[in-house]
Subunit: 210 residues, 2 copies
């Protein structure tokens, strides 16, 4: 009997954890970060408040883990779509930087226009704009690690001679992540594949005549 | 006597208008857009609520005019700094696109790091991220007209042969406005002159070897 208790409890924990993530992501999208409470997350997830406090010290910690989980799910879906047996944790390297960037940015547009991602990410981004501590925490733990994948891919491209040696990869990646973030957050213009393809071409070859 | 009344009343109106703008900009930076009320703006500006309603239908209309006024002031300061007799309403055209863009982006960094601009603009941007109607109104009336100045400058550069004919100026300008907005709003990395200079160089000449 003792041997069966552990897996059961693990499954129960896993179910609770997933319910808490779902509740936190739904709530932050519906009421915003400031009005979201641990009590409301617990009620919606159908768990006790103490269950949440046992695992996380604060609502920002819950939300951070919920987003990490969401982006892992997105990576898993993308990898499955690409026919990969394992979850990709890097930007693909086919040896053709332009093609690889276009592929990843099209997938990013799909994610940004998916309501499951859009509402919570938008609520969090809005709070991060005015709440510098929260903004920095999420950039450090969530956004920057994703941006570093572009740094790695651009370094490889430099070794392959597809990016000029003087280019700083950490700045270069902003030529596409910046415009995409601005269109998404500020609704300045529509997002689409043609747009992201164009960004990649301008960034790689420049807008001045070659 | 009647002849003196009009100018006096105009001066009084102008003083009230300026006090209302200052109050709106200060309040939105301190309490955020949602909690800012017409009553609070009136109290801080030392005018009656009816004075505000006589000129503007809503708090978003007050704030829009306050921001338009603030950016006109910024343009006036920039023009004075450049030794111009009149306020510049376009991006300078010295015939050297790289130099002109670097100059304007350095001025933009100065504005973004000026607390008088930063707090209210940040509060408004945060609200625009989650309040699509407000976001679109401010983009249409405030941000887009500023972005169109880059479109005009890039069209001139195309005629001068400094930008390739196939380039869409409305997308190209995002290569620098997007990254700048992202660093400013999301605190992803510091803003500075060396950074904006680098953005201009990457955007013009591309990151692939020439």
């Amino acid at each position: 009997m003792a041997q069966k208790t552990a897996p059961d409890s693990t499954r129960r924990s896993e179910r609770s954890r997933r319910a808490i993530y779902d509740a936190a992501l739904a709530l932050v999208g519906e009421v915003g970060y400031v009005k979201m409470t641990i009590e409301a997350i617990a009620a919606r997830a159908g768990v006790g408040k103490q269950t949440i406090y046992r695992w996380w010290p604060s609502k920002s910690a819950v939300l951070l883990d919920a987003f990490l989980d969401l982006s892992e799910q997105a990576s898993a879906e993308l990898s499955a779509k690409a026919g990969l047996a394992e979850v990709a944790t890097a930007i693909p390297d086919s040896g053709d930087l332009e093609a690889d960037l276009k592929y990843v940015l099209r997938a990013t547009v799909d994610e940004m226009t998916n309501p499951k991602f859009d509402a919570p990410a938008r609520a969090l981004a809005a709070e991060g704009v005015v709440n510098e501590q929260l903004g920095r925490e999420f950039v450090e733990k969530l956004l920057e690690p994703q941006l570093q994948l572009y740094v790695d891919r651009l370094r490889a491209a430099q070794e392959q001679g597809q990016v000029a040696p003087h280019v700083d990869p950490r700045i270069a990646l902003e030529l596409w992540t910046g415009p995409l973030a601005q269109r998404w957050l500020q609704h300045t213009a529509p997002l689409g594949y043609e747009y992201t393809d164009t960004l990649v071409e301008y960034a790689l070859y420049g807008i001045a005549p070659r």
